[in-house]
Symmetry: C2
Subunit: 288 residues, 2 copies
């Protein structure tokens, strides 16, 4: 084992650097009379949504972006829900919309996906943005978490060209869009999942290993190549009730060249990506 120390990739540092840049862009927009504005649409009061909402509101505040929360009753009917959403979508003062999902079971999100203005769709629910992520068209918005991974790798100057990357997880929230973003940066990507045979060997071969499986500490030291870059996208609770990632951090940290912790890793960057999207959207609508 190498005695060289690992670099811990701190999401908090990445978020700080992003904030500095975004504040400047927000100032410029404000000098032209434009206040970037995020609308959060929440149906009901799921604790997860409320936690993310608090983080998002704080991040917008720190960056100088306005933020409105549209809270809808969890018993709202489809028709009314669509009408409320349409109002937000049509409001020219609002540049980005975050709709918490999954919706309550009686609501259908398909009409919303078709309705949402692709340039207000800052968390990638419109097929237009999904198709753009897939095809490598950077004019769209990727989901915030995979883009947070890219921001982190970029901040730590980790070049992807020709690198062997293994992504564990094939969700539409992380694994698949992240694979496409990395492919766009010329990585050779392998996507693993629950049906993968010999997961350990496939992980160990990777120069960059991304864990996005949602299983606490499943990536053990023997699954990680010497001096690999390890990015942990998992957010789990361990047996002692502490937040942990998909990576067995204490063991893997001794082997990796770069590693992102949980908490204070990728999860600390997602709301900054959201802010960045709202600013990009305000800049887009300014030019229209």
């Amino acid at each position: 084992m190498s005695t060289e120390k690992s670099v811990v990739m701190m999401g908090t540092d990445v978020a700080k650097a992003m904030k500095e840049e975004l504040i400047q862009r927000v100032e410029e927009l404000k000098s032209e009379g434009i206040l970037p504005h995020l609308a959060i649409v929440r149906v009901g009061e799921r604790p997860d949504d409320l936690a993310y909402e608090r983080g998002a509101i704080k991040r917008m505040e720190l960056t100088g972006i306005a933020c409105s929360v549209f809270e809808l009753s969890e018993n709202i009917c489809q028709e009314e829900f669509e009408a409320e959403f349409r109002k937000v979508n049509d409001d020219p003062k609002i540049h980005g919309i975050l709709l918490f999902r999954p919706l309550p079971k009686h609501l259908d999100e398909e009409p919303i996906k078709a309705m949402i203005h692709p340039m207000k769709d800052v968390d990638c629910m419109s097929p237009v943005n999904i198709a753009k992520v897939f095809s490598g068209d950077e004019t769209g918005y990727a989901p915030c978490t995979p883009e947070a991974v890219m921001e982190m790798l970029d901040y730590y100057d980790i070049d992807l060209t020709g690198k062997k990357v293994t992504v564990v997880g094939r969700s539409m929230v992380v694994g698949k869009p992240l694979s496409m973003l990395m492919l766009k940066k010329h990585a050779t990507i392998t996507v693993c999942h629950t049906r993968t045979k010999d997961l350990a060997a496939t992980c160990k071969e990777a120069e960059i290993l991304v864990a996005a499986a949602g299983k606490a500490k499943m990536i053990s030291e023997d699954m990680v190549g010497e001096r690999a870059v390890v990015v942990d996208v998992g957010i789990n609770v361990d047996d002692d009730g502490n937040m942990c990632g998909d990576v067995d951090y204490d063991a893997v940290v001794r082997k990796a060249s770069y590693i992102s912790p949980v908490p204070r890793g990728v999860g600390s960057v997602t709301s900054s990506v959201l802010a960045k999207h709202v600013v990009r959207s305000a800049e887009y609508f300014r030019s229209k």
Copy 2:
């Protein structure tokens, strides 16, 4: 090297089996007064388009599907082009539309992508279908070539679950959508491309190797694992002027367990997939 013989995966056999099934479905539609109908929209007279068109017309004929060609002048203006396309798109007698691309440079295909009815979009140009392929939603239409690969593997009973698959090529026409279709079938997929380091080793590890790079005979015998399944999506012309694939067939055939030839391989299945999409579309509109 194994002395066991390779199975040559004949696209012509796959197409024949598909035809039998489709004819039955077409008959059923006709008995209800519905004639499945493909519209081919062609701008100008590019030889590639004309060649594909001839094959498509013949395939529709063989399957009992009506086929109309809308030939537009290569000098048509954007406005007129959109108006002509809209007429075809709005015609309730037409169930599927194939638009040859790329369009002449002065024409913009973006408004067409947004306009085409997703259920008439039988070759996957609408973001709705692209997003569905990406997310693994099988209610949409994948591009014909990657789906032809899936039909071929299915015909030869090659299960993908847990298999190590390497796809060489990352285009939106083959490599990327095929990777998603295979991921949906639980393969562990690796996507390689021109920037991949050590392509040979990555190919050799694969239990199923798909060549979709567009480079004549680039997959040599030493890049193929013993008894691998080799699918060749390339269509190239070799130094002697003969059609050939991306695989050095004569050498690789001795090593592979299954191999698709060029010609008479995957390329012989694409127009059958197109026919299948038109039939599915006619069935869809019947139920509306």
